[in-house]
C-alpha cells in the first residue's frame, strides 16, 4: 500500500512542477489588461473542439487560436462575458463549454449525485425508524402467542441447538 501512495505523490509533484502550458501567443493578447484577463477567463471555459479535452486557452490547435482571437474581438467590441459564451454556443452548441450548463439532458449529471444521496438517506432513515419501532414494541414485552413459539423453539434447540452453537463457535 505504501508504494502506490509514493507514486501518487511523485506524480502530483511532477504536475506541480510542470505547471500550466501556455498556448496563448503574445500577438493574440489585448492591450487592455482587464479585457485580457476576461479573455483568459472565458478561454479557459471554452473547449477546443479539435482536441476536445483541452480548453482553447491551453490548446495549440489552429481552430483554438481562431477562437481565442474571436473571443478577444468580441470583448473589444464591448460584449459581456455571457454574450461571448452565448455567441459561441449558438455556433458550436453546449459542447463548446467545458462546464456543462443545466439543461434537461444534463440533469442526471447535475442532480444525479444528490438523488443518490437522497435515496441513501431515505434508506438509512427507514432502517433507523424500524429499529426504533422494534424498541418501542419490545418495551411492551412479548405477546402470549410469541412467547409460546419462542418456548417451543428453545425447547427444540435444547435438543439439537448444541450443534448450532459449536458451528457458531467454529465460524468465529
Amino acid at each position: 500500500m505504501r508504494l502506490p501512495a509514493r507514486i501518487l505523490a511523485a506524480a502530483g509533484l511532477a504536475t506541480l512542477l510542470a505547471g500550466p502550458a501556455f498556448a496563448v501567443l503574445p500577438d493574440e493578447k489585448l492591450a487592455d489588461p482587464a479585457l485580457e484577463a476576461r479573455a483568459r477567463e472565458i478561454s479557459q471555459e471554452l473547449r477546443c473542439l479539435v482536441c476536445q479535452n483541452q480548453s482553447i486557452d491551453d490548446s495549440n490547435a489552429p481552430l483554438a487560436r481562431d477562437l481565442r482571437v474571436l473571443v478577444r474581438e468580441r470583448l473589444a467590441a464591448g460584449d459581456s462575458n455571457g454574450q461571448v459564451l452565448q455567441y459561441l454556443t449558438d455556433r458550436y452548441g453546449d459542447f463548446v463549454l467545458l462546464k456543462p450548463p443545466v439543461r434537461p439532458y444534463t440533469w442526471v449529471l447535475w442532480f444525479g449525485p444528490f438523488a443518490l444521496l437522497l435515496v441513501a438517506g431515505a434508506g438509512t432513515a427507514f432502517y433507523l425508524r424500524n429499529r426504533r419501532s422494534e424498541a418501542v414494541q419490545a418495551a411492551a414485552g412479548l405477546t402470549a402467542e410469541e412467547e409460546a413459539r419462542l418456548q417451543a423453539l428453545l425447547a427444540t434447540d435444547a435438543g439439537d441447538g448444541a450443534g448450532d452453537e459449536t458451528d457458531g463457535e467454529r465460524r468465529r
Binding site: 422494534e134 424498541a135 418495551a139 414485552g141 410469541e146 441447538g161 448450532d164 458451528d167 457458531g168
Partner: protein, 461 residues
C-alpha cells in the same frame, strides 16, 4: 516456449482452483446466516436471563430486551427453515457451474492470448514509418545524368520514358507523371505510356483517380479496349465516386476477360467482394469466373502491370526472382514457336539483362535482328549491348552491326562515330575523314563533342 506454456497452464490451474474451492465445498459446511444468527440469539436470550439473575438488568429492561431478541430469533428460525428447504436445491447448480468454469476459463484465456498476446504478432504501430526505398547511389547518379541530358535534348522519348519509370520506382509519383506526360506527348499518344502516366498521376494523388487520370485511362481504353490496368483503375474511379455498382460491373467485366492465373485476379476478387459487401450484395452473384489460364499470360500484355508488381512485392526475394524467371522462361518458350515476334525478343532481351544474364540478352537481340533485319532500332539495341567498354577494341560483331546500321540509316551518328574511329585506328584516313565529316553534319551546332571531332579531323589531315 514450452516453459511459458507450462507456467501459463499452472497459473490458469491456480485460478480455476481458487474459483472451484467455494463452489465444490460440501453444502453442509456452508452454514446459512440464518442458522448462525439463530445460535447467537439463543445465546443472547440466555445472557439476558443471567444478567437479570445477577441484578444487572431491571425486570423492565430484561422484558424489553427479551422481546427484541426473541422476535429476532423467531424471524431467524423462520429464515433458517426456508434456507433448509433450499439448501439441497442450490447444491446442484454450483457443481455444474464449476464444470462450466473449468472448461471455459482456460478456453477464454487461450482465446484472448492467441489473437492479442502472442509475441510473434506483428507490431501495431500508430503509423507505419514511411521511409523511402533504399536507392543505390549509382542509380541516383544515372538519374541525374539522364535529367541533365534531357534538359539539353528534351525530345528524347526513350529518355523521358526511362526517367518516368525510374521516378515511379523511387516513389516520386508526381515527377514520374510529369516525365511520362512529356513521353506521351513525344510518342503522340502511345497507349502504354498514357496508361503509365495516368497510373503515376493516381499514385501522386494518394490513389485518387482524378479527372485527368480518368480521361487518360479512358483514352487508353479507346486505343486498346482490353488494357487491364486502365479497366482496373476506371473501376476504382467509380468506387471513389461512390458508384459501387458501377465499380463492381467494371471489375467483374475485367475479371471475366482475365486468364485465371493473371496476378491481378485475386486482388480484383477481393475488391469485388469488399464492394459487394458494402452495398449488401452477395459477392458470389457478382463475381464471374475468369478465363482458363493461358501460358504465359503475364508477359503477354507488355510488361508486368501494377497489380503484378504489387503481388510480387509481397513475395520474398527468392520467390520474386523465381516468379520473374518463370515469366521470362515462358516468354522465351513462346518466342521459339513464333520467332517473328520482334517486340517479344526485345522484351526478352530487356528481361534477361535485368536478370543479369547478358549472354542470354545478346542471344535474344540477335534473334530480334533476324526477325526484323530492316529495323534500325533493333540493330542499335544489339549494338548497344555489344558496345565496347572504354579503351577496349571493338568486337568484329559490333562493327558488323554498326555497318548494318549505317547501311539502313546512312546518317546514324553512333554508327558514323564508331566506324570512323575504327577506320582511324586501322589507318584508313580517307574513310575516317569521310565518316567524321558526315557525323559533324549531323550534330547540332552546340553539341559538346563537336570540338573534339574537329580536332580529330585536323589530326587526320
Amino acid at each position: 516456449m514450452i516453459g511459458f506454456w507450462l507456467a501459463a497452464a499452472a497459473l490458469t490451474a491456480v485460478a480455476v482452483l481458487l474459483l472451484l474451492r467455494p463452489l465444490l465445498r460440501p453444502a453442509a459446511e456452508m452454514l446459512p446466516t440464518a442458522a448462525f444468527s439463530r445460535g447467537i440469539y439463543t445465546d443472547q436470550l440466555a445472557e439476558i436471563e443471567r444478567d437479570l439473575g445477577r441484578g444487572l438488568l431491571t425486570p423492565e429492561q430484561a422484558r424489553a430486551a427479551r422481546a427484541e431478541v426473541g422476535r429476532r430469533l423467531l424471524a431467524a428460525a423462520a429464515e433458517a427453515d426456508k434456507a433448509d428447504k433450499g439448501r439441497h436445491v442450490t447444491a446442484g447448480p454450483s457443481r455444474k457451474l464449476a464444470m462450466v468454469l473449468t472448461v471455459l476459463l482456460p478456453l477464454a484465456a487461450l482465446g484472448l492470448y492467441l489473437p492479442l498476446g502472442r509475441p510473434d504478432l506483428p507490431a501495431v504501430p500508430f503509423a507505419s514509418r514511411t521511409t523511402g526505398p533504399q536507392v543505390p547511389p549509382q542509380v541516383l547518379q544515372a538519374m541525374e545524368r539522364l535529367e541533365r541530358s534531357l534538359k539539353d535534348n528534351p525530345d528524347n522519348l526513350e529518355g523521358w520514358t526511362l526517367l518516368g519509370g525510374t521516378y515511379a520506382a523511387l516513389g516520386r509519383h508526381a515527377d514520374a507523371a510529369e516525365a511520362y506526360r512529356k513521353a506521351v506527348g513525344l510518342s503522340q499518344g502511345n497507349a502504354e505510356l498514357m496508361s503509365a502516366f495516368a497510373e503515376s498521376l493516381t499514385n501522386a494523388a494518394d490513389g485518387i483517380v482524378g479527372p485527368e487520370a480518368q480521361s487518360s485511362f479512358e483514352a487508353v481504353l479507346a486505343a486498346d479496349p482490353g488494357d487491364a490496368r486502365a479497366r482496373y483503375y476506371l473501376g476504382i474511379a467509380r468506387q471513389q465516386a461512390g458508384d459501387l455498382q458501377g465499380a463492381i460491373e467494371r471489375w467483374a467485366a475485367l475479371l471475366k476477360d482475365s486468364p485465371a492465373d493473371a496476378p491481378w485476379v485475386e486482388p480484383l476478387r477481393q475488391r469485388i467482394r469488399a464492394a459487394a459487401e458494402q452495398i449488401g450484395v452477395d459477392p458470389a452473384t457478382v463475381t464471374p469466373s475468369p478465363q482458363p489460364p493461358s501460358p504465359p499470360p503475364a508477359m503477354a500484355e507488355g510488361g508486368p502491370t501494377a497489380e503484378q508488381m504489387q503481388s510480387m512485392a509481397a513475395m520474398s526475394p527468392e520467390q520474386r526472382q523465381g516468379a520473374i524467371r518463370g515469366m521470362v522462361d515462358g516468354l522465351e518458350a513462346r518466342l521459339k514457336d513464333n520467332p517473328a515476334d520482334v517486340e517479344g525478343w526485345l522484351r526478352l532481351a530487356r528481361a534477361r539483362s535485368v536478370l543479369g544474364e547478358p549472354q542470354a540478352a545478346l542471344d535474344a537481340l540477335r534473334q530480334a535482328t533476324r526477325a526484323a533485319p530492316e529495323r534500325v532500332d533493333v540493330w542499335l539495341a544489339l549494338a548497344q549491348s555489344l558496345a565496347p567498354a572504354e579503351d577496349q577494341p571493338s568486337s568484329p560483331e559490333f562493327l558488323e552491326t554498326m555497318r548494318t546500321v549505317l547501311r539502313l540509316d546512312a546518317d546514324n551518328p553512333q554508327a558514323l562515330y564508331y566506324l570512323g574511329e575504327q577506320a582511324a585506328a586501322e589507318g584508313r584516313t580517307e574513310a575516317a575523314r569521310d565518316l567524321f565529316t558526315r557525323l559533324l553534319a549531323q550534330l547540332p551546332p552546340d553539341a559538346p563533342i563537336r570540338a573534339d571531332l574537329q580536332k580529330r579531323l585536323e589530326a587526320l589531315r
